[in-house]
Amino acid sequence: MTDRPSLGARAAKLQAIAALVVLVIGLSLATDSFWTPDNGVNVLRQISVNLCLSIGMTLVIVAGGIDLSVGSVLALSGAVAAGMLKNGVDIAAIGSHLEFTAAGAVAVGIVVGLLCGAFNGTAITRFGLPPFVATLGMLSIARGLTMLWTGGHPITGLGETFGALGSGRFLGLPTPAWVVAGLVLVFAVVTRRTPFGLHLYAVGGSERAAKLSGVDVGRVKFLAYTLCGGLAGMAGVLVAARLDSATPNAGIAYELDSIAAVVIGGASLSGGRGSVFGAVLGCLIIGVLNNGLVLMEVSPFWQQVIKGAVILAAVAIDRATRTGGASE
């Protein structure tokens, strides 16, 4: 389950991989444009945002929670970062004006995300709000704040350096893909090799038992939501960089894709099960699907039907081959 996935979990992974392979082979045969380096690069670039969100979502879900606010937090972080980059900020107190470098703006975006996440974490651990409600509230609040911050207008023209973060390439691969790959590795280690990581699984498995085992349940959950927020902030920066524009309506409904990815990757929404690599698989499946359906020039209406059906199929196979996955 934790360091080495238990039989069940491993089966789940294998299934997800199988589903992915089937998809890839199918699409490669169906269209000659799918199996090309260029398109591979596209898929990578396109999933990097969802993957960035899904890493954080994995932490939260493994700990037995959920975060519906990632889409809105993404928008808010991107907008604030873009605003700072473009206009800097006046610090009335010392009457001075603060400019931001691209790097500075990125930091700002992440910090905004961390703050939103910390707010979620506090609402859940201190005030005992159900995660669904707490993050649903944040979904609404962060969206509203984004609108207020931007006045409903996109913030555009963010400059070369910043833009490179979204559309640049390094060793032939998209910059965002590198960034997210890095995050994947870091959090894979965090979840499998650190006490915090193992505590996530314990808390998700049985809060009471974890508490009696000396785990600071509140702290673990708080951290999970805060990190999830921070990663949403990073995602917001990536989106803004990629579009060279922070739009107030960015990230709407992204939470669903992200949760779907994590669950397709073998996580259980009742907590205690799931993994970062599972999330990677989930994102790949969804990403490849979106990309493939367009390549096959499927009509937009059918795309929705097929996408839904494939998600069902993928998870159904997974669960069918796992012991006791049914109960959730």
Partner: protein, 307 residues
């Protein structure tokens, strides 16, 4: 609670303007798209200039929520409604209801499919605009070639009208082949993603026609990243700020300038006149959509002509 029916009754009647000052509701389909923010804010501003109280209602693209807004604002005794409808058909019922209650509705930008419900409809001539755009498309792209079309929202009238207007021209040239048609929900990032994918199967296209400017920006970004900026011509619709800049910079070829500000002001002025007693309005006031290209770019600013 302190107030009973009577208070509120005469509270609302009290608002029935003797002094020609009233309360104007601006009901907008969504604020998740800057274009509508401009529309709504201009309408509000103009109404206030004319001395009225004005409030914006966001329908969030949901006809049901729009209907609720109508219920509420009728109960709250507003004197006029400036409506940017969510749904050409779905919005009709609400507008009729307002009419029954003697509250005038003025439609902006989005048409409703009834000419006896709203007092007046001030509309971008999306169809004509796209006919013009289509002609310029043929001029610049030529009579031979492959292109892609990005549609806005399924179910949105403007989406349909724009596409129809465009094809009305372009389909007359069998040499022009549409190799892909996808929806991108008037959304920049969706357009970027979709275009990236399309370019895989069709790297050899000559042009992309987009149902609005947000999508045009997304499409151009994909084209640009793919290093095909010189080969592929991108067309938009709206006249949004960054597209105007892009045309000036020679990135995007053309867009069709709608005049959201003009439409909004016009509507606010109609409402003002109604409140002051005018009743004779023509049902439809088409607001011409003007073709914006590199040649005439200097005459235009974001969402309108240079003042």
């Amino acid at each position: 609670a302190g107030c009973n029916q009577e208070d509120s009754a005469d509270a609302s009647t009290a608002k029935k303007p003797s002094d020609g000052k009233g309360r104007v509701a601006v009901v907008v389909s969504t604020l998740n798209n800057p274009w509508f923010v401009v529309l709504a804010e201009t309408a509000k501003a103009r109404a206030e200039e004319l001395g009225h109280e004005a409030v914006i209602f966001d329908s969030q693209n949901d006809p049901a929520m729009e209907a609720s807004h109508f219920d509420n604002l009728l109960a709250a005794g507003y004197d006029a409604v400036l409506l940017n409808a969510t749904d050409a058909d779905g919005s009709v019922a609400a507008v009729r209801k307002a009419k029954e209650r003697g509250v005038p509705v003025f439609c902006i930008d989005r048409e409703i499919n009834a000419d006896d419900a709203a007092v007046a409809q001030i509309l971008s001539d999306n169809y004509a605009g796209c006919v013009e755009l289509g002609q310029y498309f043929v001029e610049t792209v030529g009579e031979e070639g492959k292109y892609v079309e990005l549609l806005g929202l399924s179910g949105d009238n403007n989406t349909g009208n724009r596409s129809d207007g465009f094809h009305n021209v372009v389909d007359r040239f069998p040499g022009l082949e549409m190799v892909a048609q996808q929806t991108a929900n008037f959304d920049r990032s969706k357009a970027l993603e979709v275009t990236e994918s399309i370019l895989q199967s069709n790297p050899d296209i000559d042009a992309i026609f987009c149902g609005n400017d947000a999508m045009a920006m997304g499409a151009f970004q994909a084209v640009n990243t793919a290093g095909l900026a010189d080969q592929i011509k991108v067309f938009g619709f709206d006249g949004a700020a960054d597209v105007i800049d892009s045309i000036r910079a020679g990135k995007i070829v053309a867009t069709a300038m709608q005049f959201p500000k003009t439409m909004a002001r016009q509507a606010a002025e109609f409402a003002d006149e109604w409140i002051k007693g005018r009743r004779d309005f023509v049902q439809k006031t088409p607001v011409a959509v003007e073709l914006v290209t590199r040649d005439n770019i200097e005459d235009y600013a974001a969402y309108g002509s240079k003042e």
